[in-house]
Homo-oligomer: 246 residues x 2
């Protein structure tokens, strides 16, 4: 029986986890939970490779990961079996067998969403899934700021200090913000994202929405390549990895 | 300074609580949490009276309660002060001073909602707010069943055994069910509800939706006054007390 490869689409509530990426054994991460659950079903050690290293507290509706398995189960049975062993805050939504040609490092298009709870009262049912930010926000200015992110740019100014990658050019396909009731919803699509990049984009757009900065400062911040020029990194709990395309 | 009375509208995520009603000191209930938080702000012992005794695990968007307070604060300042001392899963949405004539026992109209997660996969982000029930459900049959609840009836057959009240006649103003994506949403309004009444109505309607019983069995179950004839009590986490009018 040859080893088979399966592509999984995963959703998780990141509240309880120190992010996606496996760390020391004593630290609970989503990757580790999936490896443990799959290992129970497959009766062999399992390594799962994810496409995005979501941070501590960040959620996913469509993380993608690859699993190598020595099994005769079809993809759907394997999916259900592993789901039955996963904690209630992690779910495999889809599973399909893929060839050796499928490369988890070659994502072409990712979408993130960030939810801001822009009401005076703190969020209740949404408290684990939004960032509470109650200041007068000018949505039109924020929308103008978002437009400046679209295109191919060097996003070094929006890269968290822990990211040691030198190549910091990324292409943003779309970036929008709108209000729906108490929520302000920021959505961004691109060919890839640096560490903390979406959250520092949100932190910057919030500064602009409050009136502290002008929307046209975005091209200047990008040109500066200086993290100190961009806004603060917004809290993790508002961020969702929505989907990934290959 | 005379003692003043305030009417509060409360929302809570009931997941972590043994229901609304105060019990022994060692048991965490919503009422107790509100009394503790208000007591810190007011610097005197506080008793809070609620309109509905929601069960363990049941949520509220609009519970109503009365607070007696020796304070010079206006209602909005008092609301914000107590909110700042409440746990993150309880929130006072509204507060208004009321006269001695306001009687918390005299609710005229209450609305409950019950959320069923009718998808094969278990709920993830909705896991604390829905009951996972994945069987083929005939929504039209369930709608037909709901209509039979409307009107003034003796709901003894839908009363939990712990409810010792003899007067079991209640008037249901409306009762509906519909599907929205993976959710099946049951809504009911009435002048009052017995212990476990909404949940046993839902359990009965689910039996009808699965095809086990006919919608016309509802009038027979009501006429029997026999709890054994109605369906099971549906799980608490799908139930929300939406609002109360006086």
């Amino acid at each position: 029986m040859p080893i088979r490869r399966f592509r999984m689409t995963l959703a998780y509530d990141g509240t309880a986890y120190c992010g996606w990426q496996r760390q020391r054994d004593s630290i609970s991460t989503v990757q580790r939970q999936v490896e443990i659950a799959a290992g129970i079903i497959l009766s062999h050690p399992v390594i799962v490779d994810g496409s995005s290293r979501t941070d501590s507290g960040v959620h996913a509706q469509g993380q993608v990961a690859v699993l190598r398995a020595d099994t005769t189960l079809d993809a759907e049975r394997l999916r259900r079996a592993i789901n039955s062993r996963l904690p209630e805050d992690i779910l495999i939504r889809d599973m399909a067998e893929v060839s050796e040609n499928f490369n988890i490092r070659r994502a072409k298009h990712k979408r993130y969403r960030y939810l801001i709870w822009a009401d005076r009262d703190r969020p209740l049912f949404f408290r684990h899934f939004t960032y509470h930010f109650y200041k007068d926000l000018d949505i039109q200015r924020m929308q103008d700021a978002c437009r400046h992110f679209v295109g191919q740019h060097d996003f070094n100014a929006f890269k968290g200090v822990k990211d040691k990658r030198d190549f910091t050019v990324r292409t943003i396909f779309s970036c929008n913000i709108h209000r729906r009731g108490p929520l302000v919803i920021f959505g961004v699509e691109g060919n890839g994202f640096l560490f903390h990049m979406v959250r520092s984009m949100v932190g910057t757009v919030l500064e602009i929405g409050r009136g502290h900065w002008h929307p046209d400062c975005i091209p200047e911040i990008i040109a500066s390549r200086d993290r100190e020029r961009a806004g603060p990194t917004a809290m993790p709990q508002g961020l969702f990895l929505q989907w990934i395309r290959f």
